[in-house]
């Protein structure tokens, strides 16, 4: 019997079973990781209303905890992301959304950057074209350059005589 137990011990040690014998895997805080994932992705895009500037997902305030619990319930009831967002907006207004909804008053916000970019690039191209035309106008012809060189050489000779 003793030999058998010894053999078993050696076998188990070799297989590394003992390294985990006391180290049980911790249980996740959330009951359902799938629900939790959705909760995180939804609440990350919402604002914690009692905080200065934190997401609903990150805040540990009482209200944030309550609202997250509410959202968990809604997820389990099978509501879609859209419906959950609508639920929150019905009660707290657009202010609760970190991603501004696309409606007429936010068109400028969403289109703005790309509009500015287009204007910027267009402006750049126009400016460069105009500039090159200006430059061409003031370019001296080759003949003029030769004349200038000749004149410069004359003035150098004159000044070196002093």
């Amino acid at each position: 019997m003793k030999r058998f137990l010894l053999f078993l011990f050696v076998l188990l040690s070799a297989s590394g079973a003992f390294t985990n014998v006391l180290a049980e895997e911790a249980t996740p805080l959330a009951d359902d990781p799938v629900v939790e994932q959705r909760l995180i992705s939804i609440s990350e895009e919402m604002r914690c209303l009692v905080c200065q500037n934190e997401s609903l997902s990150g805040s540990r305030s009482d209200l944030a905890n309550d609202l997250r619990q509410e959202i968990r319930t809604l997820i389990k009831e099978g509501k879609t992301d859209e419906q959950i967002r609508a639920f929150m907006v019905e009660r707290y207004g657009d202010f609760v959304l970190y991603r501004p909804p696309v409606k007429p008053i936010t068109w400028l916000l969403w289109i703005g950057p790309f509009l500015i970019l287009l204007l910027g690039i267009a402006g750049l191209l126009i400016y460069l074209r105009r500039r090159n035309i200006e430059m061409v106008k003031t370019d001296l012809s080759a003949e003029d350059n030769q004349q200038i060189d000749a004149l410069l050489k004359v003035s150098e000779k004159e000044s070196s005589h002093d």
Partner: protein
């Protein structure tokens, strides 16, 4: 008694700054030498007075002088000495004094290091800086006096917000302000040249090292703030697009555009008006940022306690300074001569295009930050603009810029053959594509976003390597060249860090009993229990966790939950095991029933590359400043 001296020093500084601001400018305009030469000495006196004032405030904190209202509101006798020093700029009044002190520091540096600059220019530059100093001192003396007394003196102070009791606090604001305020020098140079009617390349050569220096500080300041938030706030985020964060980032974007534009103006004499406009804009954005943070106009965790009077004053100051500068610009700038000719495929064009992207990015972040205010001011309701917006907008705008970064340095001034450029770059393109496909596979999950990140980062790195190889064949590279390579490399490293963490970080929220483990990122983290630890001004519950891999303990981590005596909110101090390729981050949550604890662990791959990249950017800038050009040409710049 001593705080009163601090107050007097401020009043004196105001008077002398007024002289510094007004007389040299009039002197330069009317050709009065006696007034011109007042500039440098006045700047030096103001500096000494402000240094005195600042030191006295610092001393009041050190000596726990609670008869000073500001000290009583922001400090406490139990506060460790180093945090008493950091508390000097922990509130509105003190941080504003720091702002002004640093402005005067930059001014006196300009006055000392400008011996070969002509007197009229010096007078104008110092004059403009003097006017700004005067305005801010007036603000401090009328609405935000840090030396206001409290009689009878408080027994003890209210103490500092526990979140701010951290070494990061001691360095982040001064670093940031050095940057913010440093752009005032470029601004002053720009105004001076507009005033003189002479906008030549010399101005650009002068401005460039000062602007680069300010940019370096701002880069470091922002990076420090981000890193501080990461390890201090307890949930592993490093950037929140918070209005105050944006207020420092927008000038940075414009400052980067300015740096590159100055390069063109210095080398080729081009873009003079545009560069001047950028210089004015960068500093204006610094002032705007100051307004946003202190006026109560936006909601932010960073915002100082607000007072409508202050908001009005700063707004008026802002309107005057920026309004008059832009008016001057509108009047004088059109008189500029154009620089050299350059084609559509020249380096000038590429830099200008890069500028467009940077300025558009800055404008977009500004739009997002101010939009809620806009809508509210029009009585159209209240909306919220958060990280989802900024991420959706910023990333697409920055993407083409990264592509440009790989191409631009290959182009030549005036004109370049794009076909040649493409031929030289095909290898870089190949490396980038390979990286874009391979790395996500290695990390275990292919997403288009992460692939894009690696494509762009390795494009920049490979292009840079090819440039270095090519340059090496041609001889010793200049410091300017080395600086550019390192700075651009820094950006690529930054992008890799952001991409890795964004796409491949792991997070687990678990309940742990002593002895249990949780695995994340290939590591096992075993909980060993929590002990009670007293601290200098708090009591802590200190957790012990073993970080293991393949059964071997690599490190022991001690996250804490602290209850500061001066606050009812418990603070979480996360424990981070930092490494070159990953951080393991453990945060202690609440204690649950039956002696279990809620614990949050993160595996964050390559997160330190985010700040490593910023360090490289700053290093690149530093090396560029020390280029021989600036030392040699300084002596030659007489006429």
């Amino acid at each position: 008694m001593i705080p009163e001296f601090g107050h007097y020093a401020l009043i004196l500084a105001f008077c002398v700054a007024l002289i510094q601001g007004v007389l040299p400018l009039i002197g330069a305009h009317q050709g009065r030498r006696e007034w011109l030469v007042l500039a440098r000495p006045a700047a030096q006196v103001v500096f000494l007075l402000l240094a005195t004032s600042f030191l006295i405030l610092a001393w009041s904190f050190y000596a726990n002088d609670f008869s000073v209202l500001y000290v009583a509101e922001h400090s406490n006798s139990q506060l460790p000495v180093i945090y008493r020093f950091g508390a000097v700029w922990g509130g509105h009044e003190g941080s504003l004094l720091l702002w002004i002190f640093l402005l005067s520091t930059w001014t006196v540096l300009v006055s000392q290091l400008s011996k070969s600059l002509d007197d009229f220019m010096v007078a104008r530059v110092i004059g403009v800086l003097g006017l700004i100093t005067t305005g801010l001192l007036l603000f401090v003396l009328t609405t935000s006096n840090p030396f206001e007394r409290l009689f009878p003196a408080a027994q003890d102070g209210r103490s500092l917000n526990p979140l701010l009791q951290d070494p990061g606090l001691v360095f982040h604001p001064p670093m940031l302000y050095m940057g913010y305020v440093g752009f005032s020098v470029a601004f002053a140079f720009a105004i001076a040249s507009l005033l003189s009617g002479r906008l030549d390349a010399a101005w650009a050569r002068w401005s460039r090292p000062w602007t680069t220096a300010a940019w370096i500080f701002l880069t470091l300041g922002i990076a420090l703030g981000s890193w501080w938030a990461y390890y201090e706030l307890g949930w592993g985020g490093w950037w929140f697009w918070d209005p105050v964060e944006n207020a420092s980032f927008i000038p940075w974007l414009v400052g980067t555009a300015l740096l590159h534009s100055l390069a063109v103006t210095e080398k080729r004499g081009g873009f003079k008006s545009w560069t001047v406009l950028l210089a004015i804009t960068a500093f204006s954005l610094s002032l705007l940022g100051t307004f946003l943070v202190r006026s109560g106009v936006l909601t932010s965790v960073h915002a100082f306690a607000t007072d409508p009077r202050r908001g009005i004053f700063i707004l008026i100051f802002l309107a005057l300074v920026v309004g008059s500068s832009l008016l001057l610009y509108a009047i004088r700038a059109p008189k500029n001569t154009m620089g050299g000719k350059f084609s559509l495929s020249s380096r000038e064009t590429f830099i200008l295009l890069g500028n467009v992207f940077l300025v558009v990015a800055a404008g977009s972040v500004l739009l997002g930050t101010l939009y809620p205010l806009l809508i509210d001011a029009l009585h159209l309701g209240k909306i919220s603009v958060g990280p989802p917006y900024f991420n959706s907008v910023f990333v697409p705008i920055m993407t083409p810029l990264l592509v440009l970064m790989g191409v631009g340095p290959w182009t030549s001034w005036k004109d370049s053959n794009l076909m040649t450029v493409v031929k030289r770059l095909w290898l870089a393109g190949l490396v980038a594509i390979v990286a874009a496909i391979l790395i996500p596979k290695v990390m275990g999950d292919f997403t288009w976003l992460s692939s894009m990140g690696f494509l762009l980062a390795f494009w920049v790195i490979a292009s840079g390597c090819l440039q270095i190889v090519r340059q090496a064949k041609a001889g010793l590279p200049t410091r300017s060249f080395i600086g550019m390579q390192i700075a651009h490399l820094g950006i690529a490293i930054f992008v890799i860090g952001v991409t890795m963490v964004g796409a491949y970080q792991e997070e687990k929220d678990v309940r742990m009993l002593s002895g249990e483990t949780v695995s994340v990122g290939g590591y096992q983290i075993q909980f060993q229990g929590v002990s009670d630890e007293p601290g200098p001004n708090y009591r802590a519950m200190r957790g012990t966790f073993s970080l293991m891999r393949h059964g071997k303990v690599e490190a022991v981590l001690h996250p804490e939950k602290r209850n500061y005596f001066s606050s009812t909110m418990p603070m979480t101090e996360a424990a981070i095991n930092a490494g070159l390729t990953r951080d393991i981050y453990v945060s202690l949550g609440e204690q649950l029933e039956d002696s279990a604890w809620a614990v949050r662990v993160y595996y964050k791959p390559f997160v330190d590359w985010i700040w490593g990249g910023c360090l490289l950017m700053a290093l690149g800038g530093l090396i560029a400043i020390t280029d021989k050009r600036y030392r040699v040409k300084l002596r030659k710049l007489v006429a």
